[in-house]
């Protein structure tokens, strides 16, 4: 099992971003995903800065992947996308089918990101044919659905295994809206919220996190105690999503788990002290994403009936 550091989803100062990745160069992760995936107004690092950072991390022995923006709106977004897609050094994570088009045109291998919505074998095979060598399933994908996916030869599955879940993208900037600012004049308020801005219900439950145009969970998705299940479902690489504090310790926990130096049962307690919110693992169990049932097995050995994809019809029972 390999480890990757997912793209930074928040907006930090230039110094903080550079310091974070300087430290990350020494962390026991195999891959580092770089670039701005959320908002084109964020610019403490420009594209050439990200390329420099890529060179430094590659020199430190990391596999570097450049992540593309998930929501493409303007011609300038497309210009940046083309520069990333046509870079000749690094693998690119496509987070939009415009990016897939540009990468397939050049015939270069790429990573199919979580917002491409690959929910079935046909779409996955299509992505493989277009050049995808790795895919990241939608973050809501349950263990059973993942296990039922026949992954094409030569394609690796990377799974979002730690961090606040990126749940939605909007044209509207919720952080700017909170400060009664327009998006075009947001005064870069995201800089004041290095782990996003917590949205609570009217009875005080931390529910969501506003991160500019992105909405995340308030809870922190963690599958650290489920490494065996992830492996059983065919996952080859775990994505850890950056947070502003104690990320090095989070990486260490996962590394120790992979190397068998930390018993899985001890992982939740270790991580609880490192997380910026309460934990959750419901998506993996095919339940509401915010649920947390660390004791429950994803593959039904507990005898609990699977509440997999709940629709009008009986839930499918994947192989």
């Amino acid at each position: 099992m390999k480890l990757s550091l997912g793209p930074l989803l928040y907006y930090w100062s230039r110094e903080d971003i550079l310091a974070f990745y300087e430290a990350a160069a020494g962390w026991p992760v195999d891959s580092v995903y770089l670039g701005e995936t959320v908002c084109s107004r964020r610019h403490t690092l420009r594209l050439p800065d990200w390329f420099d950072l890529a060179d430094r991390l590659a020199a430190a022995g990391k596999e570097v992947v450049l992540s593309s923006q998930a929501l493409i709106e303007s011609e300038s977004d497309l210009k940046a996308l083309r520069k990333i897609a046509r870079n000749e050094k690094y693998l690119v994570e496509a987070n939009d089918f415009g990016a897939v088009r540009l990468l397939a045109e050049q015939g270069v291998p790429f990573v199919a990101g979580p917002t491409l919505n690959a929910y079935n074998p046909d779409t996955l095979a299509l992505l493989r044919d277009l050049g995808a060598v790795r895919w990241v399933p939608p973050v809501e994908m349950p263990a059973k659905m993942l296990q039922a996916m026949p992954v094409p030869e030569g394609m690796e599955t990377e799974f979002f295994a730690y961090g606040r879940l990126p749940l939605a993208f909007s044209a509207r900037c919720f952080t700017a809206r909170h400060y009664n600012l327009q998006k075009d004049d947001c005064q870069f308020k995201c800089l004041d919220h290095p782990d996003g801005l917590t949205l609570r219900t009217r009875e005080g439950e931390a529910f969501l996190t506003m991160n500019g145009i992105q909405t995340q969970s308030a809870r922190v998705y963690s599958l650290a105690h489920r490494l065996d299940e992830l492996a059983e479902a065919g996952v080859g690489r775990l994505r850890l999503s950056p947070q502003s504090q104690r990320m090095a310790q989070v990486v260490t926990v996962f590394r120790e788990l992979i190397e068998g130096r930390l018993p899985p049962a001890e992982a939740p307690a270790r991580l609880a002290r490192l997380m910026p919110g309460e934990p959750c693992d419901g998506y993996w169990l095919g339940q509401a994403g915010l649920d947390y049932q660390p004791e429950r097995a994803a593959f039904g050995r507990s005898g609990v009936p699977a509440a997999n994809v709940r629709g009008q019809e009986a839930a499918p029972t994947p192989r």
Partner: protein, 337 residues
Amino acid sequence: MPSEPLLELICPAGSLPALKAAVDHGADGVYLGFKDNTNARNFSGLNFDEAAIRQGVEYAHAKGRKVLLALNTYPQPGEVARWQRAVDRAADICMDAVILADPGLMAYAARTHPDLRLHLSVQGSATSYEAIEFYRERFGIQRAVLPRVLSLAQVEAVAANTEVELELFGFGGLCVMVEGRCLLSSYATGDSPNTCGVCSPAHAVRWQQTPKGMETRLNGVLIDRYADDEKAGYPTLCKGRFEVQGETYYALEEPTSLNTLEMLPEMARLGIAAIKIEGRQRSPAYVAQVTQVWRAAIDAVKRAPESFAVAPAWHGQLDKVSEGSMHTLGAYYRPWK
């Protein structure tokens, strides 16, 4: 060669009576779905079985109108065949187009039924011409429904760079998030639009009168609480009141409807092929009322785009049926963002 379509009026039909209401009141096309999770309005009591669809198609075609089938959720492993059979049935029933979001399903449709017209659903999240051209080159899509996130200037840039027809949302419920990229509903309830075809599903809703007021919950999560003089609304997740840094407000979006009547001349100028009315979950009376107003407006803008003005009566008629009686131009109007 028929001329390129301009401002076709595409109306929702959650039932045969709604379909007839749309056709009778001037829709150029209606869109509908089967009774299952192959479409993004998978609500109980809604949608069409095979017999109803055949009747609907017959009714619409007799009057020269089109019927479009929404198959716009994402097929899941072990079940892909069910979505494929739905495509086959659409071809068999002589649907005028299928509205798809999943690339794998599009590949199947293009391969198996090369004459079946394909539209890219809003659930496909294509917001740029590069993305739209991907679907055109690979699967021959002829129309794309754009997510409700672009400003009109951005729509213009898309229109200038693709020959694919564009369809824009004109009226109805407003998704503040990019469609197809929103998992808020499954985070709270387990069911998402992508896989189950529902958002904030009714089975997860609880209304509860408490000493603090009427509370609406989704799977236990408090979405809003209403004072006695406030009208309680359906707990659509993104339209609740939440607390952020001590301030309680509609943190994501107010319970408003989209209404773009006043933008019709601009949409005509951009050559927008079709205007979509949201609301397959709404009643035949709603469909009739909204279709009638939009028919009149589109006819007026086609007759004389320069002198087009929104008739005050139109707003009155639409207000009567719309959600929360508040309207917004949404993202088409940039300052909204």
